[in-house]
Amino acid sequence: MNQTSTETRAVVVERDIAFPPEKIWRALTQPHLIAEWLMKNDFKPAVDHRFNFRGDWGSVDCRVLTIEPNKTLSYTWDAMGLESVVTWTLTPTSTGTHLRMEQAGFRPDQEQAYQGAKFGWQKFFANLEQTLARAD
């Protein structure tokens, strides 16, 4: 089990956005703006600052790792048994910004797997509900 618990995996989401990096940077680093698209938080743009994201399902423990204004931001993201690091990268393009988010984390062990599965079920049922609502 120790063998598998150190295996890392990652999620990458990328998108070309029609706004300059400076504007996206504000949305990524100002708490009241972050709250509008991600979650309520007590983020501060300072390395080693510890903060939380708070959702209706629980909270995420975070610590700021790196900040390079308008370019890159990374913080730890620990929630529901998942220990991970979220890294935002902003690259200017001719039409705006290429925004990349990578979340790299450790493969869940047994207890984490169970917590993860519970989350999976919630999502599963939420999706089911939506599907049913659309079916009316």
């Binding site: 598998t4 989401v13 998108r15 996206i24 703006l33 988010m101 047994q110 797997a113 993860g116 999502k123």
Partner: protein, 107 residues
């Protein structure tokens, strides 16, 4: 693999069985007797639930003297909990919300 999902969901939909599985995940290796003490159902009922959990590949048993010890199988829930796909869906949604916010924001 949807079939694996089906089996896991069907196996864990029973609250007593789910509680037994949860206890094995949380507390590790246990005998039928120890599980019965906390399950609130008879020992034969616990044994039956363990049989179903074993068939679904969620637990394994090990004989030690006259006792059978049960434990949760590591990775048993792996098919359900591919966190990367969960988080990918989460972040895709958040990217949409971020774009909406950017449209509303002042320059």
């Amino acid at each position: 693999m949807p079939d694996t999902h089906d089996v896991i969901f069907r196996t864990l939909v029973d609250p007593t069985r789910r509680a037994i599985f949860e206890r094995l995940c949380r507390d590790g290796d246990q005998t039928v007797g120890a599980l019965t003490a906390k399950a609130g159902v008879s020992q034969p009922a616990v044994s039956k639930h363990l049989g179903v959990l074993k068939q679904a590949g969620l637990v394994r048993d090990r004989h030690k003297g006259r006792q059978t010890h049960y434990s949760a199988r590591p990775g048993a829930l792996a098919p359900l909990i591919d966190w990367t796909s969960q988080m990918a869906t989460f972040w895709q949604g958040k990217f949409d919300d971020l774009e909406d916010l950017l449209k509303r924001m002042d320059q």
